[in-house]
Symmetry: C2
Subunit: 218 residues, 2 copies
DNA sequence: CGCTTCGCCTAACATGATTAGGAGAATGCG
DNA sequence: CGCATTCTCCTAATCATGTTAGGCGAAGCG
């Protein structure tokens, strides 16, 4: 059996190879796109054979999952910092931060593309790897809710971002989960501010979700 | 050789099988997603063997291409009708139409998803199949340009739509083509209206594209 | 009636992910 | 130190893709 004392060093080494594989995968993805990476190519870049990757990851999907978890985590750090500023500063700062997010969401297409899990055929993200994205959205919706609606232009940017994220989330889980509800809520806020009649789906969702809280559970 | 007289009937029959194949492909896509369809499954549904599909389509990519051409064409008809109204009616109508487009772009995720070519691994759309989408955007940008900027809220919806489309276009052709320029122009209009400093990429693009037309060609 | 073309078939291939099973090195205990 | 165990990687093979090669029968044309 493996001794307790050396458990650390062993899993350290394991972690290192794991990271090495993920780095190789990202490097490859930057060259051939996320959908274009193959296990053989990743393995070759690390100096292994393809099946050996299964020592560290259960499947190719698991590799994608780890890659996205990494990326989302980084993204979350940036977003969190910007959102903190956003909550504490004046309109000018708000606009600047909005621009930052706008770049994330639309203008900086290359990065956005790398984050878009839909480029991966058949990939199904795990709840864990997607959690940071959900937190980002929750925080953003909360912050913009506090700011009031005179900052609607900024909110619309958020909407674009949320739309994009919710869209890709929906592609992976059409069942209508937490992410979809976030979107619907954002749509409602926006629609109220602009004076549009709610869309069919938004009206349906918001009716049950907010205005007519169904008879109390239990 | 095939006689001229029967060329019609022959190509009629050919067209019929082609449509049959495309219908089967769409039906399948609705069940298993665009990325999930396989040639063998399509063929089985039509009562053929997989290689026989190559009598009608040069590749699986060609099938996807035909599917999207069909879908975009339908989309264009709806969009064209709504845009025509948009140009001729009052603000209420504008708002209604905007809502329609908003449904297309974000709220009606299921349909939007079906239109999103990025769900297809490695798919590269042809210029022809994508042409309707380009026309829709051109028309939309033109219409919103005429309306002035007090309708900014509506324009932002368009931006979301454009962003989504340009995003997926960019994924397929990162070189920066006509679609990307359309996006940059839309971003510029929007940024001016809201009073944001132009983003780095927008400023770069718009400088060369509009304000400082480089020395005349030839 | 004979030739050509068309639409489909079967057989086979290339490349992808993945599984089975083993060999050799590293690790830990006596 | 020496032996058992565990880990990491390997080779070989399997299965599911899209795709190509070549043939066969029927329909159309002269």
């Amino acid at each position: 059996m493996l001794g307790e004392a050396n458990r650390d060093r062993v899993s350290e080494r394991r972690e290192a190879t794991r990271r090495e594989i993920l780095d190789a995968a990202w490097a490859l993805a930057r060259e051939v796109g996320l959908a274009g990476i193959t296990l053989r190519d990743i393995a070759r870049r690390v100096g292994m054979q393809a099946p050996s990757l299964y020592t560290h990851f259960a499947s190719k999907n698991a590799i994608y999952d780890a890659m996205f978890a990494q990326a989302w985590s980084t993204y979350e750090q940036v977003a969190e910092r910007d959102l903190a500023e956003l909550a504490n500063e004046a309109r000018a700062a708000v606009q600047q931060v909005s621009r930052t997010f706008f770049d994330f969401a639309v203008a900086d297409l290359a990065r956005y593309q790398l984050m878009n899990q839909r480029t991966v055929p058949g990939f199904e993200p795990s709840a864990e790897s997607y959690a940071p994205a959900v937190r980002i959205l929750e925080r953003g919706v909360a912050v913009f809710g506090q700011l009031g609606l005179e900052d609607r232009a900024d909110f619309d940017i958020w909407l674009a971002l949320i739309g994009g994220l919710a869209d890709q989330q929906h592609a992976n889980d059409p069942g209508g989960d937490r992410f979809s509800r976030l979107l619907v809520r954002a749509v409602d806020m926006w629609a109220d501010a602009v004076g549009l009649p709610p869309s069919a789906s938004a009206a349906r969702e918001s009716r049950t979700a907010r205005r007519a809280p169904r008879r109390a559970p239990r």
